[in-house]
Point group: C2
Chain length 112, copies 2
């Protein structure tokens, strides 16, 4: 019989990942380039598995998708959704050519 | 959003436009597809001509540009800028093919 190339399912717990998620991180959803519905699903899942608050974080062009996510979660899933806090900021990032550049960011804290 | 056709410079006071700007409207800047610096300049001009507050309004993809505008105004022009209110909402718009669709919006109220 040939060796299966697929890794066996681990029976033991995985080792802690390098960037272990803290309590705050666990309820943070980083909004990227996927369709807003992907982040809506992630947010609804967080609430339905016990999170009291969820933070939606986005930078640059993804900022509008973070707002879309919050609005869809409110309008379709949790009509009583409360926006607890919105933080606007500027972050330093390193662009592809290695030069530093600045990008706006948003952090929307919501509670159902 | 349609670009307004440029009006000639008028020597006499203009008649009241069909959509006369109310006190609230006067300090509202609608963020569209121009470079963020165009809206930064408009905002700084509003403050420098006596406005106590300026509202930055944007829909859809322009939302991230509204945040850029606020951040650039704060970081380069008015370090003490205060964000008084941020409203996130959903607006009904009619798309080019005549069908209704929904778009997220932001309204950022700032004071220097």
């Amino acid at each position: 019989m040939e060796e299966p190339t697929q890794q066996p399912v681990e029976a033991t717990p995985a080792p802690a990942p390098m960037h272990e998620r803290t309590g705050a991180d666990r309820n943070t959803i980083y909004i990227g380039k996927k369709n807003a519905m992907a982040y809506v699903l992630a947010t609804v899942t967080q609430f339905n598995t016990g999170a009291a608050e969820v933070k939606l974080k986005a930078r640059g062009h993804a900022i509008s998708r973070a707002v879309d996510t919050e609005e869809i979660v409110k309008n379709r899933f949790f009509p009583g959704l409360k926006i607890k806090q919105i933080i606007l900021a500027t972050e330093e990032v390193t662009s592809e050519d290695g030069r530093p550049s600045k990008v706006s960011s948003i952090e929307i804290t919501i509670a159902k």
